[in-house]
Symmetry: C2
Subunit: 583 residues, 2 copies
């Protein structure tokens, strides 16, 4: 038996008990006549004491030889601590050691195993198993596990069945982003790893399972933006005999439960906003509504003077930055420089300070009088002390830039408080998205999303106008879930595939099984998928998903710890009927 | 809103209520003046009634047009049923329909959607989404989901953290059975799909996570025996600071909990048996101990006469088949023929009836007298009415044949009762297994298994004799779990790799990260992995794992429903820097 207790367990009530502990040496403090050792495991830290008076000399000598991260087992008795440490759960006691065994020695770790470590990201990833010993990383993993359990318990209690769908499936038309897996038993043929279990969950609805969920790994072989992973985890859900309202209510319930159970936060009924409104009011489809600064469109009250910049613009829009009148000229110039960076690409910014005396001071006082500026203040909702920032230009560009500015201002003003949770449903997404380069359309959500009732005909005449029964759940400016009511009619699915540029043969080859299924009594159905990595990070009050993944990959899709991917043997390639292409 | 209730919900107390139901048409019975429709969903069946007196004529006409598996929505009022059906949970009521809407029509299904279907396996797999509508399949999936929830709740309550380990990892030395995944971002390089998360869970122990579990898909690209799948699910577990005893106790607890929670079966402390004893007593390492028929080795009391078959044999061993004396000569000849089939390969069988008068009648009465036979009866534990069956030959062959005979006899006598659960720990497995063809050794469990204390030295002198801290959990003759105490010392791991035929470079290239990890304070650790598919099947009282998998693959590793694997585009191959080999 390696231990009678853990290193987080002993309290004053245990004083006098003989115990056995095992763990890692966190710290050795040698004060000459006495040596203290902090012994650490997952559960906490317990202080061990060796002293000249009470400890055999040989033990004291051994204790002095212990290095950081040595794994040891000790026997001893729990005694009262002279100087108690209220910071530590075990701070009332210490262990007078009477037996010590080194279970494993340790090289000096390449970075300190402390909450604030001196190790950089690359080093920490290479030695991730040491990084995990650090409290913040360990706690994140435990937190993730707790969130997943809450999800499972809630959904199970609400009648959802967790079903495992296959990982070795078939390459799809978005195949360019599929990871493929050569089959040895079927030479020249490949499985694909799922980008999502979409078609399988729909088939489960055709199969009458009624309510399905799964916490499941998904895979996407694409350029990895800063915070994406080639493998990621979804909470995948589907329900039969539902309309959009049913799905929103069901998963609003789940999200509310998680906020309460995990963060003890109570949230009112989630607000809803159409995609169009979100774009108009916040300039993007995942607005952070923890703070205000809604867009005001100012064309009507800003294009009547001789200011050509505004007069030539498709859109003039502004926001009121609370307290922003206090920004210095230099700070404002800094913001304008920031806006002009190529990543944002604004040409400039018009601004106006709302002064305490009710007057206004703007960067375009040459063109506009106080009456004009007052209207701008009213439109943006600016109060005395606020700063109104106005951008102008083509509609989409201006919105995107103003949205970036809004987020930057919120960041500077400390409005993005990770302890505040502001969920939002964005609904009525466009069904299709136009590829501006090729002029072709692809599905904004996915090809199985159902258009709004009565809009099917619009596909031929005005495809951009068609709205879908599709919705996103946004939390603090992050899309944490997205879903739709699906098509359940073979004919409609065929029309969709045609509009997405599939020939009938292609549609049949790729999705024949789904279209077949729709002929045998498919119920109306719909669902949603949450990104677990992101959800956990936000619930944890953080933004980087990598911090909540045990063994993440880097931006090149590499696991630097195990050094994968890696070349394989020629013999293995041959067995798979493959050859490497020489460039 | 598609429904106010499910089809399994309405009872007598609902009589008089106006309701809305949606579901599938199970059956239409047209009696002329009245039409009954059975409406089905996941939760049950509700009877709908349309009659000439109370139903508008147009509705009655529509009802008559309904086909099997049509998806419909109805409105109506709950009324008392004249002839109640106590078989049905909704059998006290029926619905007098006043509104009917066909949500989706259905082609005639290719097999009947009944508990006993007329569809063969291939057809059912091709239309698996229809097969899932059948109660036995649906209930199996729900059962699986319930078992997984019980596992998670139990392990979580006992301090285990579920951690997701990566799916895109590195090919290992058992690489021949790895599925590989070409990386587009790293041309010419491959990930491998995990055969198990073994090294990652060990690194989590090095990382101080203390208690880990995960329900996780694993992958093995090998010839698929009758009841294997290329992707399968494990309950993967690991603990730090444990000896074998701790692991056995922890997972005996889990298994006992599952038997109680899922099957309401109470089991005593699980018996334990060494590998050697299992081989000697049952002829294999996963004995079914629901019934007796232990092997008796008879060399001492059977090799003293002139019977050359026995005298020349390395092993003479027998079992007592309870009640087997009643087998006719013809039946026994049948058994002998069965034994002689190439799959079993026995040369013949000596048998002896234990008669009610205390005398014996054997097939070798020419050679042995009643005194001899009495000793055989005593050794095998045979009583009056039993049949003693004796095989002889080389040790391992004879044991394997006698084990097959024992199972066959149990089957014929109905002793393999799926409602009885007999768990067993088999311990002290050999560390190494010799490849008889090449004379080389490989790890019986895996290369990370620790030899028994003090046996490391034996590796050089008598590798066959080295026993491991390795154990299997056997349930009703099936291995449902297996694990070991791991090596946690870099030097010992190096010695193991050397004995398994790795050069130092190979070991470093493949497992350098693990050996590195062992240098930074690796705790003693060990664990176990359960095959969830098999565990669920056995708990469900069945033997075929495929029946508990939503979308299984066939013996060629194909998903016949979606037709995968399949060829991929030349362009996609090019992006992956691959070319197909022309045979």
């Amino acid at each position: 038996m390696y231990r009678s207790h853990t290193c987080g367990e002993l309290r004053a009530k245990h004083i006098g008990t003989e115990i056995v502990l095992s763990g890692w040496v966190q710290k050795v403090r040698d004060k000459g006549f006495v040596v203290w050792v902090d012994l650490r495991d997952r559960y906490g830290i317990t202080q061990l004491v060796f002293d000249e008076e009470r400890t055999p000399a040989v033990l004291l000598t051994e204790a002095r030889k212990l290095g950081r991260e040595y794994v040891i087992q000790i026997r001893g008795s729990v005694i009262e601590r002279t100087s108690k440490n209220p910071q530590l759960q075990t701070g009332e006691i210490e262990i007078l050691v009477n037996g010590l065994k080194v279970l494993n020695s340790a090289l000096l770790p390449p970075f300190t195993i402390e909450d604030e470590t001196d190790g950089g990201t690359d080093l920490r990833m290479k030695y991730r198993y040491l990084d995990i010993r650090r409290n913040p990383v360990k706690e994140n993993l435990i937190f993730r596990s707790k969130v997943a359990m809450e999800v499972r318990n809630y959904l199970s209690a609400h009648g959802f069945i967790e079903v495992e769908t296959p990982y070795l499936i078939k390459s799809t038309p978005e195949g360019a982003r599929d990871f493929v897996v050569p089959s040895r038993m079927n030479p020249g043929q490949f499985y694909a790893l799922p980008q999502s279990p979409q078609t399988f969950k729909q088939l489960l609805m055709v199969g009458g399972l009624d309510k399905y969920f799964q916490i499941v790994k998904c895979f996407r072989d694409e350029d990895l933006r800063a915070d994406r992973q080639p493998e990621f985890t979804q909470i995948d859900c589907e329900m039969a005999f539902v309309e959009q309202e049913d799905v929103l209510n069901a998963f609003e319930g789940l999200t509310r439960h998680l906020l309460k159970a995990i963060r003890n936060v109570e949230v009112d009924k989630f607000p809803r906003m159409t995609y169009d409104e979100a774009m108009r009011t916040y300039g993007n489809d995942k607005p952070d509504i923890r703070f205000d600064m809604r867009f005001a469109e100012l064309n009507d009250i800003a294009q009547h003077k001789d200011f050509q910049v505004f007069n030539s613009a498709e859109l003039v829009a502004g926001i009121a930055v609370p307290g922003g009148a206090a920004f210095t000229r230099k700070e404002i110039d800094g913001i304008i420089d920031w806006l002009k960076r190529p990543q944002i690409g604004a040409k400039g910014m018009v601004y106006m300070r709302c002064l305490e005396d009710g007057s206004y001071k703007s960067s375009v006082d040459k063109f506009y009088d106080q009456e004009d500026l007052k209207k701008w203040a009213e439109a943006t909702g600016a109060k005395a002390g606020d700063l109104v920032c106005i951008l102008s230009g083509a509609i989409q560009e201006t919105r995107t830039q103003l949205s970036a500015l809004r987020m930057e201002m919120a960041e500077r003003l400390g409005l993005r408080n990770p302890e505040v949770f502001a969920p939002l449903w964005v609904v009525d997404f466009p069904l299709l998205e136009k590829d501006e380069e090729t002029g072709t359309y692809h599905a904004m959500h996915h090809p199985f999303t159902s258009p709004k009732p009565g809009q099917l005909e619009l596909l031929d005449t005005d495809p951009d106008a068609v709205r879908a029964n599709a919705y996103d759940l946004v939390l603090n400016g992050n899309e944490i879930g997205g879903g739709s009511i699906r098509i359940h009619d073979k004919k409609v699915q065929g029309i969709m595939f045609r509009h997405l540029g599939f020939t009938e043969e292609e549609a049949k080859a790729q999705f024949g099984f789904l279209m077949d299924a729709f002929q045998y009594g498919a119920p109306p159905h719909g669902g949603i998928a949450f990104g677990l990595d992101r959800l956990v990070a936000i619930l944890g009050g953080q933004e980087t998903i990598r911090d909540f993944i045990a063994f993440p990959k880097n931006n090149s899709g590499r696991d630097v710890m195990i050094d994968a991917p890696a070349p394989i043997d020629e013999a293995q390639l041959e067995e798979l009927s493959l050859r490497l292409r020489q460039e």
